[in-house]
Symmetry: C2
Subunit: 205 residues, 2 copies
Amino acid sequence: MGRNHQVYGGGGGTMSRGWSCLFYLLVFLTEILLFGVLILSLVWVYLFKDGFAWRDDIQRQFNLHPVLMITGFIFLMGNAMLVYRLFRCCNKLASKLLHTFLYLLAVPCIVVAMIAVFDNHNLREPPIPNLYSLHSWLGLITMGLFGLQFVVGFFSFWILLCCEQGTSSFRSNMLPIHSTFGIITFMLAIATSLTGYTEKAFFDL
Amino acid sequence: MGRNHQVYGGGGGTMSRGWSCLFYLLVFLTEILLFGVLILSLVWVYLFKDGFAWRDDIQRQFNLHPVLMITGFIFLMGNAMLVYRLFRCCNKLASKLLHTFLYLLAVPCIVVAMIAVFDNHNLREPPIPNLYSLHSWLGLITMGLFGLQFVVGFFSFWILLCCEQGTSSFRSNMLPIHSTFGIITFMLAIATSLTGYTEKAFFDL
């Protein structure tokens, strides 16, 4: 295959121009979906649910929960996963830094979203019990996996860089495990969102 | 690696004994989950929902919907996907036949489960509207993909066997597409089940 039919594919691979076009089309569609779900969540809360609040109005405080969870678990995590796909030609370390930064941004979103829903349950008169639904348990498992991924990933791919040569085979063995568990966590986040939206729809019926 | 450290891995590959043990352990755990979800659904319907009926009692007719959908989309589809993993050493054509047979068994389960839920909505006084929830639309998309997979798979991997040599490269190109869409359909089926269980739990609250 001639040089003009190949583009740099990153990760040691090359793609023909046709596959590369299809690949970037899929990445572009994924970005539209990621931005779409975030924008639609904001539109939903602002146009139909009276926006946000904190403590003084627990009904509007709750609205922070879906929007911030979608921001953390879908928008930021999805984009963090796409970093290695979007910037295939760029410096690997810069991509890794951006990947970690996006995950770091997701952490406060998830923490505030958690506080919002616990407040909404506990500050009511009478309080609603916590963690009684499929959604909440799926959410807990997703958060557990997210935390585990974060800690193990940070240790394996940043801390162990201190002796780069000695840990390279360990790091390359960890990579497929880290990315597989990343995809599983993302799938669980999607399943949790779907059950969450279903719950919300049926509470509002 | 000595011969006694390798086992036949099927699909042209071999695995070391350690990986093979881990592999079959994972397959075994998956089987436990597949049988578990089916048995728990049956226990739930028989012990807490008064079993099944047809037309004369639409409340009990509805119970056919979750059980048969789980049977078709999770139990049979999951086992059909596992056939190529369980019988790695066996004749490929026999595995393909079993894979097709399990999918064929899933079709009547899904059709009856669909009729059960439409009857439950339409035969009520007053009738409930159909297809208004996230669960129902996810279910429709899953069924559409299932049908598409079935038709395209049957054409590609059975009909095109009539001129085996001429179509071998097409069939081997189709294989990763077919298995990827199979996994996507299975994931969608799981997401649909989760939203379905959430709906049912909130209707019964």
